[in-house]
C-alpha cells in the first residue's frame, strides 16, 4: 500500500542571482512497511529532502502526500500535530535531553501527545524491550554509550507508533559495532513490527541494511536499486557499484 508520495518536489535556495536547486523536481513513492535508504554525496540534496518530508523545511514547488494528506499545505498547529502523530525522528547526534533519564526521554514523546499517564509506563517498557535498552532506562544520557543513546533516541521515535520513521544519518556518530547493532534493530522493527523506515545515509554499509536504496545526485533521482532476494553482502556490492558509477565523494565514505 502506498504510504508516502513525493510529487515533483523542488527546493531552491538563495536569490535570483545565485540560485541553488537543492531538489530538482524529484518524484517517488514509499509503501507501507518498506525500509528505504537514500544515498548521495554531500550537497546532493538528501538531507533537504528529508527535511521537506519531515515538514522542518518547506518545498518551493510540488507536493508531498502522506496517506491522503498533502503535508506541504499544513500550517501552525496542524503541523505540530502531524509531526507528533505521524512521524518519528532519529538524528545523527541523538538529540536526547541531557537533563532527563532515558525513560523520561522516551516518555516525553508520549506525554507531548497527551497520552494518559497510566498507559505511558507499559508503552515505554515495551519499546525498551524491543530495542534492548531495558537496563539503561534509569540512566542519564551522559552515562550511556553512543549506541545506547541512539537506541534510546530510536525508542523515542517509535514509541508513539508513527506512520513513518525518518532517520538522518543514524549511524553517523557510532562505531561500527554499535552501528551494526542499531541497524539490526531497525531490521527487526521493519520485519516484526512492520515499521516504515526512511533513512538518509552516505555510508554504503548502513544502506545495505535497507531493502531499497534511492540515489540522489544534484537534486535529482539518479538511480534506484532493490535488495530483492540478494543477501546483504551481495546487495552491499551492488550499492558499491552504483556509488562508483556516481563517482565523486561518496566513495570516500568507504
Amino acid at each position: 500500500m502506498q504510504l508516502l508520495k513525493i510529487e515533483q518536489v523542488e527546493k531552491y535556495y538563495g536569490s535570483r542571482s545565485s540560485l541553488t536547486k537543492a531538489l530538482n523536481s524529484i518524484s517517488f513513492t514509499v509503501d507501507t512497511g518498506e525500509f528505504v535508504a537514500i544515498m548521495g554525496a554531500s550537497g546532493s540534496g538528501k538531507t533537504t529532502l528529508l527535511n521537506c518530508i519531515s515538514t522542518i523545511d518547506r518545498v518551493t514547488a510540488g507536493h508531498i502526500y502522506l496517506e491522503d494528506t498533502d503535508i506541504t499545505t499544513l500550517r501552525g498547529k496542524s503541523l505540530g500535530r502531524f509531526r507528533r502523530e505521524k512521524l518519528g525522528f532519529i538524528f545523527q547526534d541523538f538529540n536526547l535531553l541531557d537533563t532527563l533519564t532515558a525513560y523520561e526521554n522516551i516518555s516525553l514523546a508520549l506525554s507531548i501527545q497527551k497520552t494518559p499517564v497510566r498507559n505511558i509506563h507499559e508503552a515505554v517498557e515495551n519499546v525498551a524491550r524491543q530495542l534492548g535498552i531495558s537496563d539503561v532506562l534509569d540512566k542519564y544520557p551522559y552515562q550511556m554509550s553512543g549506541g545506547q543513546k541512539q537506541r534510546v533516541a530510536s525508542a523515542r521515535a517509535i514509541v508513539t507508533g508513527p506512520k513513518i520513521i525518518l532517520a538522518d544519518e543514524p549511524t553517523g556518530a557510532l562505531d561500527s559495532r554499535s552501528a551494526k547493532l542499531l541497524l539490526e534493530r531497525f531490521n527487526y522493527l521493519n520485519m516484526q513490527e512492520n515499521a516504515t523506515i526512511m533513512m538518509v545515509t552516505h555510508d554504503s554499509f548502513t544502506a545495505s541494511y535497507a531493502e531499497r536504496v534511492l540515489f540522489i545526485k544534484d537534486g535529482r533521482l539518479f538511480n534506484e536499486i532493490r535488495k530483492g532476494t540478494d543477501s546483504r553482502k551481495q546487495f552491499f556490492d551492488r550499492i558499491i557499484d552504483v556509488v562508483t558509477l556516481l563517482g565523486g565523494d561518496v566513495s570516500d565514505a568507504l
Binding site: 500535530r81 537533563t99 532527563l100 516525553l108 506525554s111 507531548i112
Partner: protein, 684 residues
C-alpha cells in the same frame, strides 16, 4: 583590525549584550538621578533654615550611599561580564587556535568593554537626565514644595561623579577580564561548549532533614526577633540575621534536591505534557544557582524592608507632627540637661527677659515646672523589679541610670493638656501615673509596673493608678519620644525646688507666612538670650522649638529617608533582576537545541512557551517568596523600631513597596520571558 573585530563581535552577540547594556544603562541612570537630587532640591526650593541643612545632609548621605551602590553595581557588572565571557569561550578558543596572542584577545575584550561602556554611559546619562526631571516632580511632592518652582535641571557635578564612578567600575571589569583571559587554558575553552551535564543527585533523607532543620532555625530566628524585641541586643540580632542567612542557603540547597523527588512522585502531573522536561530543567539549574538565589533572596528581603520602612517613616513623620506637636512653640530651661540640679529661686535675667518676650508674642500660653527626686533615679525605678534591673544593667549599658525620673504635678500637667487640646488626667490623692510613649522604654517600664503597687516619691508612697504606662508627653516633638514621666499629686511636690521650667504657647497669627515671621523673631530673641547667658558664665540647658521648624525638619527628614531607601532599594532590585535575567537568557541560549528537538518531535509552540515561562517564573518567584516571608517577620521587628516614628503609614508604604517591586522586578521578569522566547525562536 582589532577594533573591527570588537565592533562586529558586539553586533553579532547583540542579544547577549542587550541585557548587559540595558542593566548598565539603568545602573548609570539611577546613579545620576539620585546624585542629582541634592542639586535639584537646592534649586527647586527657596531654602531656609532646617530645610537647607536637610538638603546638605541629603547630599552627604547620598554620596556615601553612592559608594556602596557603586560597589553593588560594580559587582553586578563584573558578574555579568564574566557570564558573557563564559558564553564566548569557543570564540576565544578559535582565536587562540588561529595563533592570536592572549594579549591581543585581552585587547579585543578591552575595546569591547570600552565601546559598551561609553555607549551605556552616554545612554544611561541621557536617560538619567530625562528621568531626573520626573524625579524633580517626585521630590517636590516629597518636600511638600511648590510646583511652580519646577524647571529643567542638569547637575554637572552628578554627571562628572557618575562618569568617574563608572569609569572606575569599567576599569576594574577590564582588569578582571584580562586576568581571566590570561589564566584560562585552551583545552578548557574548547571543551566548555560540550558540557557533559553531570547531575549530582542529593541524598533525599539528608535533604529532608536539612530542610526541616533550616525551617526550624528560621522559625526560631523569626520568633526571637518578633516576640522578644526589647530583649534583643545588637549582638544577638546579628546572630539571628546570620542564622537566617545560613538557613536560607540550606533551604534552597535542600529544596533543589527535594523538588525533583516531589515532582517525580506526582506521576500524574510529572508525565503530563512538557512537565517532566520543565521540572528537570529547573532542578538541574537550581543546583547551580543555590548561592545566587540565596544572595538574591536576602537582597530582596533587605529591599522590601528598606522600601517599606523608609516610606512608612516618611508617612508617619508627617502624621506625627499633628499628634505630637500640638503647640506652636515651646521653651525649656534647666540648669543642666539631665535634671540633676535644682533651679535657682529666680531665672537668670536674660532668660526672664526671653520669657517675657515669648509671652508677649503668644496669644495663649502655659508655664509649668517639673521636679526630680535624687532618691528616685531611673535606676532606682528599675531596681523595684530585680529581674528587669539585672537585665538592663547587663544588656543596655548605654542607658544612663543615674538620671532622676521627671516628675510633674497633676495641675501643671492638666493645664498644659488644656492648651494642647488633650483630655486631662484624673487621679486621686496619693496616686501617680506613669506616662511614656517611647515604645522600647514602655515595654521595660510596663514589666516593672505590672509587679509593683506603689512608687516612693519625696518620702511618700504613691499608689499606681494604672499598672502600665499611659500615653502622654509634655515636650512637643516630631515623634513619640517621651521615655518616662511621672505625674504626681500637687501636695507631694509642695516645698520642692523644680528642676525644669517650660513655657508652651500658640501664636495669634495662623497663616504660614506670618508664623515664619514669628518663628524668626522669637528664634532671634532666643539666640541673643543664650549668647548673653553664656557670656555671663552661667552653665545652663535650654531648648526652643517651634512647630514650623519641626514640621520642616520632619518633612525634610521623611523625604531624606524615603529617597535613600528608594535609592538602595532600586539598586538592589535592579541587581537581582539583572542577575536572574542574565542567567535565564544564557541558559535558554544553551538549551536552544532542546527546544529545537521538542519542536521536531511535535511539541506545540504554545506548550514550549509555557514551559519556558514556568521555568523563568519559578526562578523569579522562589527567592521572592522566601524574601516575602522573611520580610513579614523582619518588618514586624522593624515595626518595633519604627513605632518610634509611628506606624500609621504602614499599609500605604507596603502598597508603594509592592508597586516599586512589581515595576522593576516584574519588568525584568517580562524582559526575561520575551528574551528567552526570542532566543529559542530565532534559532529555529
Amino acid at each position: 583590525m582589532l577594533f573591527k573585530i570588537s565592533v562586529s563581535n558586539i553586533r553579532r552577540s547583540l542579544r547577549d549584550y542587550a541585557i548587559y547594556f540595558f542593566t548598565l544603562m539603568i545602573g548609570v541612570s539611577i546613579f545620576y538621578v539620585f546624585n542629582a537630587v541634592g542639586t535639584q532640591t537646592a534649586l527647586l526650593m527657596v531654602m531656609e533654615g532646617d530645610t537647607r541643612s536637610i538638603t546638605e545632609l541629603l547630599s552627604t548621605i547620598i554620596s556615601n550611599v553612592s559608594v556602596f551602590v557603586a560597589a553593588v553595581l560594580g559587582l553586578l557588572i563584573v558578574y555579568a561580564s564574566r557570564y558573557l565571557m563564559k558564553r564566548r569561550s569557543r570564540e576565544f578558543a578559535l582565536y587562540l587556535l588561529l595563533g592570536m596572542g592572549k594579549a591581543k584577545i585581552s585587547l579585543i575584550l578591552l575595546l569591547e568593554t570600552l565601546i559598551i561602556g561609553i555607549g551605556s554611559l552616554a545612554a544611561g546619562l541621557a536617560a538619567g537626565i530625562g528621568l531626573s526631571q520626573l524625579m524633580s516632580a517626585f521630590v517636590i511632592s516629597l518636600f511638600d514644595a511648590d510646583m511652580r518652582n519646577y524647571r529643567f535641571t542638569l547637575s554637572v557635578e552628578a554627571v562628572w561623579k557618575t562618569m568617574g564612578y563608572f569609569g572606575v567600575v569599567y576599569f576594574v571589569v577590564m582588569l578582571f577580564n584580562s586576568f581571566i583571559i590570561g589564566k584560562c587554558k585552551l583545552i578548557d575553552l574548547m571543551q566548555s561548549g560540550k558540557r557533559s551535564e553531570k547531575l549530582r543527585l542529593k541524598n533525599v533523607a539528608l535533604c529532608v532533614i536539612l530542610f526541616f532543620l533550616a525551617a526550624g532555625a528560621l522559625g526560631y530566628a523569626y520568633h526571637e526577633v518578633t516576640y522578644a524585641p526589647a530583649g534583643l541586643t545588637a549582638k544577638r540580632m546579628m546572630c539571628m540575621i546570620a542564622l537566617g542567612a545560613v538557613a536560607t542557603l540550606v533551604i534552597f540547597w535542600s529544596f533543589s534536591g527535594l523538588l525533583l523527588r516531589i515532582a517525580t512522585a506526582l506521576k500524574g502531573v510529572y508525565f503530563r505534557g512538557l512537565n517532566c522536561f520543565t521540572f528537570r530543567q529547573i532542578s538541574s539549574r537550581i543546583n547551580t544557582m543555590v548561592l545566587s538565589m540565596t544572595v538574591i533572596c536576602l537582597m530582596l528581603f533587605v529591599t522590601i524592608c528598606t522600601l517599606s520602612g523608609s516610606f512608612s517613616i516618611r508617612n508617619s513623620l508627617n502624621d506625627n507632627i499633628r499628634t505630637y506637636c500640638p503647640a506652636d512653640a515651646m521653651f525649656i530651661y534647666a540648669p543642666d540637661s539631665l535634671g540633676k540640679e535644682t533651679m535657682p529661686d529666680e531665672l537668670p535675667a536674660p532668660m526672664q527677659t526671653l520669657e517675657d518676650t515669648l509671652e508677649a508674642h503668644f496669644s495663649e500660653s502655659e508655664k509649668g515646672y517639673s521636679y526630680g527626686d535624687d532618691d528616685l533615679t531611673m535606676g532606682d525605678f528599675f531596681d523595684l523589679d530585680r529581674e528587669v534591673s539585672a537585665w538592663i544593667r547587663s544588656n543596655l549599658t548605654m542607658l544612663d541610670l543615674d538620671v532622676p525620673e521627671v516628675l510633674v504635678t497633676l495641675s501643671d500637667y492638666n493645664a498644659l493638656m488644656t492648651l494642647y487640646g488633650i483630655e486631662p488626667l484624673e487621679m486621686g490623692e496619693n496616686e501617680c501615673v506613669m506616662l511614656c510613649n517611647f515604645e522600647q522604654m514602655t515595654v521595660l517600664r510596663d514589666k516593672v509596673l505590672a509587679k509593683i503597687d506603689s512608687i516612693p516619691v519625696f518620702g511618700h508612697d504613691l499608689k499606681l493608678k494604672y499598672h502600665s504606662c499611659q500615653d502622654g508627653f509634655i515636650e512637643i516633638a516630631i515623634q513619640p519620644l517621651n521615655s518616662g514621666l511621672l505625674v504626681i499629686p500637687d501636695s507631694v511636690a509642695a516645698g520642692q525646688q523644680p528642676r525644669f521650667v517650660y513655657l508652651a504657647g500658640n501664636y495669634a497669627v495662623t497663616d504660614t507666612e506670618a508664623r515664619h515671621a514669628e518663628d524668626a523673631a522669637l528664634m532671634e530673641a532666643y539666640r541673643s538670650a543664650c549668647i548673653e547667658l553664656s557670656g555671663a558664665g552661667i552653665s545652663y540647658h535650654t531648648q526652643f522649638n517651634t512647630r514650623q521648624d519641626m514640621a520642616d525638619a520632619a518633612i525634610g527628614l521623611g523625604a531624606l529617608v524615603a529617597l535613600v531607601g528608594l535609592y538602595i532599594g532600586m539598586t538592589f532590585l535592579i541587581a537581582c533582576g539583572a542577575v536572574l535575567a542574565l542567567k535565564q537568557l544564557s541558559e535558554a541560549a544553551d538549551s536552544v537545541r532542546y527546544y529545537e528537538m521538542l519542536r521536531k518531535i511535535g511539541a506545540e509552540e504554545k506548550d514550549i512557551t509555557r514551559s519556558l515561562y514556568r521555568q523563568a517564573g519559578i526562578f523569579f518567584l522562589l527567592p521572592l517568596l522566601l524574601a516575602a516571608v522573611h520580610s513579614v517577620f523582619g518588618m514586624k521587628f522593624a515595626g518595633v523600631f519604627l513605632t518610634m516614628f509611628g506606624t500609621s503609614g504602614m499599609t500605604a508604604s507596603i502598597v508603594t513597596t509592592c508597586a516599586v517591586l512589581l515595576v522593576i522586578y516584574g519588568g525584568y521578569f517580562l524582559i526575561t520571558c520575551f528574551g528567552c522566547k526570542s532566543v529559542i525562536r530565532n534559532a529555529g
